[in-house]
């Protein structure tokens, strides 16, 4: 009986999500649907990072590298680019189906996750953060420079003309008519990303409330005590890195298919920090919080971009502050305010919330 309202809320949420691209399109225009699509990608990334940072407590500042690995994996396996490097073997490049590349991208990213995890097994906190930061930069610099002697990544120019994702032989890059409803490309990608986000949420939720999830949290709380309780901290840390990286890799492949073009510029340190901010801002270890953080931080810059210039023009008659720099200023301020007033995030994880409740209860007594 008590499930009825909860089910109703879920159905309502589902209905709103299904209509979201149409609502956004009608109210704000097609460009915003695209922004919403990107927000979904960020949510997937943030949820992936949440496994590493939120559950296992391993601070990772190079997370975007796994996104890059996934993106380049699909870019190489689904574009004419490899024809330049291996004209004889692949005269037209490689054009594997997205659905074949996706698991490959996830596995490859997972492998890179283990590659990062293995040498950092003894590190924690700040030291781990520095190494992961370096790892992220190494990947980006490799991508920037692997255009010689064999042109593998096309360097800073990036790879273009990546094949669009198709579902059941229907390309998502063109407007499609389904049941008489016209669905533009951005709408189609929205539904694809929605399905993947739902999958990622499901996986995160299941992992959180499992033997594995508890072991991760034990490592986060006290690694020595965890190992004394028989938890193989080496394997579980590697598993956390690999699982997080796999989510990153899968979203990277989706990103490459969606954009049709990628370059190393998309995988800078700033992006890693951005994703980490989403996790921290929303509430580490809490899925709903992380989603909220992802939405806010992905949408907010766009809102600023669209409001700051007209506002300044109306007020001063000219643009004084560039929206890009204002964005960083506001982000910084927002984070400082957060740390002061809501250090556990906007939606703290269940345990932290309970902790606050208990504190209040104690105070009342």
């Amino acid at each position: 009986m008590r499930n009825a309202p909860k089910n109703l809320t879920l159905w309502l949420l589902f209905a709103v999500l299904l209509l979201l691209p149409f609502i956004t399109d009608a109210l704000l225009g097609r460009g915003w649907v695209r922004i919403v699509d990107f927000a979904m990608l960020y949510i997937m990334l943030a949820l992936g990072l949440n496994i590493v940072v939120g559950y296992a407590g391993l601070l990772d500042l190079g997370y975007i590298a796994f996104f890059a690995v996934g993106a380049y994996c699909y870019a190489l396996a689904g574009s004419p680019h490899l024809a330049q490097a291996f004209p004889i073997a692949f005269p037209d490049g490689v054009h594997l189906s997205f659905w074949i590349v996706l698991p490959m991208a996830a596995l490859l990213a997972g492998f890179f996750g283990v590659l990062l995890g293995a040498p950092t097994l003894r590190l924690r906190g700040d030291y781990l953060a520095i190494v992961t930061l370096g790892f992220g930069e190494i990947i980006r610099i490799f991508l920037n420079n692997l255009n010689a002697p064999i042109n593998l990544t096309n360097g800073p120019q990036g790879i273009s003309r990546i094949d669009p994702v198709s579902v059941a032989n229907v390309s998502l890059n063109f407007t499609q008519k389904i049941f008489g409803i016209e669905l533009p490309s951005v709408h189609l990608y929205f539904y694809l990303f929605l399905a993947f986000t739902a999958l990622v949420v499901f996986v995160s939720q299941r992992l959180e409330k499992s033997r594995i999830g508890r072991a991760w949290m034990a490592i986060r709380e006290d690694e020595i005590a965890a190992s004394a309780m028989g938890i193989n901290t080496r394997n579980l840390r590697l598993l956390a890195f690999a699982m997080g990286a796999m989510f990153g890799g899968a979203s990277g492949a989706l990103f490459a298919g969606f954009q049709g073009f990628i370059s190393p510029e998309s995988f800078s340190l700033m992006e890693s920090i951005m994703v980490l901010c989403m996790v921290v801002l929303g509430g580490m270890g809490n899925i709903a919080g992380v989603i909220l953080g992802g939405i806010l931080l992905a949408i907010l810059p766009e809102v600023l971009r669209h409001s700051v210039v007209p506002m300044q023009q109306a007020l001063f008659g000219k643009v004084l502050v560039d929206p890009e720099s204002l964005r960083m200023l506001l982000f910084g301020t927002a984070l400082i305010v957060m740390m002061l007033y809501r250090p556990a995030g906007l939606l703290p994880s269940r345990v932290r919330r309970r902790e606050l409740d208990t504190d209040e209860a104690v105070e009342r007594v």
Binding site: V203, R206, L207, S210, R211, I212, G213, R214, A215, M217, A218, E221, D222, I224, A225, A226, S227, A228, M229, G230, I231, N232, T233, L239, M243, V351, R352, R354, E355, T358
Partner: protein
């Protein structure tokens, strides 16, 4: 004495930190089903021995056998798997997790569900999860924590935190329960009920190793006691004999009241 009944056997264990010799030539053995006490003045090497035993340190020399198997470079989780569970001198609970979750984590080593089990949440996994939670509740009750199981570990009282550590250790189904100064900071009543709890645990067939400052507790509880001083074993035997050993009295002179 070094016989077949020994659950744990240290032979000439030595541990050096740089030039400092924390343990030298320590040999001892713990029989199945006994409560074995380890005492000694501050800095005598008790905790070092303990950390060697639980795999946190690797001995510089010597041999270490547990339940018939020789462990050379012990890893903590391997030894927990083998059946050694421990508590910590300065409580190390998973502070931001609930009391129940703390004990459930102790079940980790005796359960199997992996990533696929977690994702599919099939019948086997569900049953296992249920069994884990059930056993954890039982253990909370067993050690006498009657606060709600959902209380965060850090919100338990000091005595309860000590008990929770014991419950978590028991959740690993140990053969040997090793307690590092479990009575530290406890008042007389708490110490008395701890003593009762340890006796119950022993009567359930678990061997207990106890490191303690509280000589009275050790003498009243243990079947056999070893005394460490400056990294050497200076006495071993039944409490009565150890208490009157001149070497022990010399080591403790001015230190403890016993």
């Amino acid at each position: 004495m070094t016989g077949t009944g020994a659950l744990l056997q240290f032979t000439s264990i030595g541990k050096q930190f740089g030039g400092l010799s924390a343990l030298s030539d320590v040999s001892l053995h713990i029989q199945r089903g006994e409560i074995y006490g380890l005492i000694g003045p501050n800095g005598a090497g008790k905790t070092t021995l303990f950390n060697v035993l639980t795999g946190l340190y690797q001995p510089s020399v010597g041999e270490f056998r547990f339940n018939g198997t020789r462990y050379q470079a012990g890893k903590p989780h391997v030894l927990a798997q083998a059946g050694i569970a421990r508590t910590f001198q300065n409580i190390r609970l998973f502070a931001n997790l609930t009391a129940l979750e703390n004990v459930m984590i102790g079940r980790h080593v005796r359960t199997r569900a992996g990533v696929f089990g977690a994702l599919l949440r099939n019948r086997v996994t569900r049953n296992e999860e249920q069994a884990i939670a059930e056993r954890a509740r039982e253990l909370l009750h067993y050690v006498g924590i009657d606060k709600p199981a959902q209380t965060l570990a850090k919100h338990l009282s000091y005595g309860e935190q000590r008990r929770l550590e014991i419950a978590r250790a028991l959740a690993t189904d140990p053969l040997l329960l090793a307690l590092d100064e479990p009575a530290a900071g406890m008042n007389a009543t708490e110490t008395e009920s701890l003593k009762t709890l340890l006796q119950i645990i022993r009567s359930s067939g678990i061997t207990v190793l106890l490191i303690e400052h509280d000589v009275k507790l050790i003498m009243g509880l243990c079947d056999r006691v070893a005394v460490l001083d400056y990294g050497r074993k200076i006495a071993e035997g039944v409490p009565e004999r150890v208490r009157n050993d001149p070497a022990v009295i010399a080591a403790y002179l001015g230190g403890e009241d016993e």
